[in-house]
Symmetry: C2
Subunit: 321 residues, 2 copies
């Protein structure tokens, strides 16, 4: 049995591996085939994770299976897309059935949680790396892009920031913590939850959106550049978890929330009048700043005064006007 | 400038990088967006090439750019799909502008030849490898799959076989040849031409199809298994180039045509009555065998006698009944 067939074998146990109605032909031919309903567009994103770069070279394959799919799928959430499926290009130094079984189990669990079907892939011999390409559908013209933010919009995020950055020293064994602190941070790192439902709820409401992968400031820079606006982040409003605060202290937690990557929480801009109905519907939305005219990203205090540090680490996020 | 932006920069020079009408949103957001016309399906395939496994670790990046895209795009041709675009996940040990420029130039040239637009991707640090995901469109229900071959159909191929296998010792520096022999073989290896037009012409005519990547016998095994038929390959009918015959001799060339991979020529099954009109329309079609009842792949002489060698190299292509 080939490696990919081995994965398919482990994966086929899951009901969702059969594919939703959009999957006309799944694994096993030269191509997979997808069908869209009239008035829908297909959203596509590709992400590569390399061992020793994006995850520890030695790690639990079950957790890696979960994380590798969630990281890619989060881009679909950021577009407001409804998940369809994914392809997996898996490069492995050796074929080990126990590793593949555990990896497929983790992948499978995340695929079920995300309602994503494995529709194809490739398995090759080489240094361990994973490339996922994910597919979703979205009503034509309603995809959330980075380019529609307008001066006056609120800057919002869909959850706590910095937890994955807090987990990193624990993952790398550089720091230790009791379960009350370690567990929620590690869960966030290994099993991020793509915010599909929130992304879909923001269709036609948010003026721009993305998922935070490079850190809030850097990602706000992407919105500012694509939308040709400035973004002000209000330091005191950053939603920070008790676990992160305990592990890093107040200032360290703020730093992690501003510049830590891998959060996979949505950041988006919203006209002020759209906020109240979304909060009433209990969406997990935190207002963390505002969009202005001009260019670049700045950090402000509660009086709106610019407190952006000019040291390295912040400075390169400031766009040239 | 990030690496991917560097590629985009080099790539954006090409008119086709702007995308056809199916590309609603290209590079630069969380996802690309594709639109299909009513009655169309999307065909998707993923391929990974790893340095030192699928191509020499040290090779001309321009040629690699051509080959990496053509190999993936050939799967679209095999489904009878019309090309739309592709994503590129590029893992590089270091950022070298000269390498990237040459790679993007080769990629670009093949993308223009194939009418494929770069719609997204990811660039990561790590051991050199490339994952392409390619997208095409096909009228619903008309995609060519591996599963429709019927007893009595002709087995056909779309061009000469074994040329890439002939090129391999030249690529690896294990053998030398003059330009009259080396040039056509190397061209076939580094710059395969996906048979899009032939694939599209076979819609509604061929009962099964694939592109030859594992070698004719192995790939016929895929058709036999998916279609639940047997396939007989007639040894004397294999189309072999003069260059391959010169380099490998008659028997070596036949062996390369039967088991050499990387040809990226279409193999397909055709009801006998469909052949004449296609030949009259000048499609490059060679009849190389026939489909029968039963299971497995066999090699036959001109009298239909089974001459399948039972030595390793052939034997594992025979399916169990």
């Amino acid at each position: 049995m080939g490696e990919f067939e081995l994965i398919r074998h482990f994966f086929a146990a899951a009901p969702c591996a059969q594919g939703g109605e959009a999957v006309a032909l799944g694994i096993g031919d030269d191509c997979a085939l997808l069908s869209l309903a009239p008035g829908e567009q297909l959203a596509i994103s590709t992400d590569t994770l390399v061992a020793g770069v994006h995850f520890p070279a030695v790690c639990d394959p079950f957790l890696l299976g979960q994380r590798s799919l969630a990281v890619a799928a989060s881009d679909l959430a950021a577009m407001g897309a409804t998940p369809i499926g994914f392809t997996l290009a898996l490069t492995l130094p050796e074929v080990r059935a126990d590793w593949l079984q555990a990896y497929a189990h983790g992948l499978n669990q995340m695929a079920q949680a995300c309602q994503l079907s494995l529709i194809g892939g490739d398995t090759t011999r080489g240094p361990l790396s994973l490339t996922m390409t994910v597919f979703g559908r979205v009503p034509s013209g309603l995809a959330l892009t980075r380019s529609g933010a307008r001066a006056g919009d609120l800057l919002c995020v869909g959850g706590e920031l910095g937890n994955a950055a807090g987990a990193l020293p624990l993952v790398l064994g550089q720091q230790q913590a009791g379960p009350a602190v370690a567990d929620p941070l590690l869960a966030h790192y290994w099993s991020p939850q793509p915010q599909f439902a929130l992304g879909q709820a923001l269709r036609g409401k948010a003026t721009s959106a993305l998922d935070i992968s490079d850190g809030l400031l850097a990602d706000c820079g992407h919105i500012a550049k694509a939308s040709q606006v400035s973004v002000q982040v209000q330091l005191s409003r950053l939603p920070i978890s008790p676990a992160l605060q305990t592990l890093f202290g107040h200032q360290g937690a703020q730093q992690a929330a501003l510049t830590g990557g891998d959060d996979y929480v949505l950041a988006f801009t919203l006209p002020e009048e759209e906020l109240a109905p979304l909060l009433e519907a209990s969406w997990p939305i935190h207002v963390v700043g505002r969009v202005g005219a001009g260019a670049g990203v700045s950090l402000v205090d509660d009086q709106g005064k610019d407190i952006t540090p000019t040291t390295r680490g912040y400075q390169h996020f400031r766009e040239q006007p």
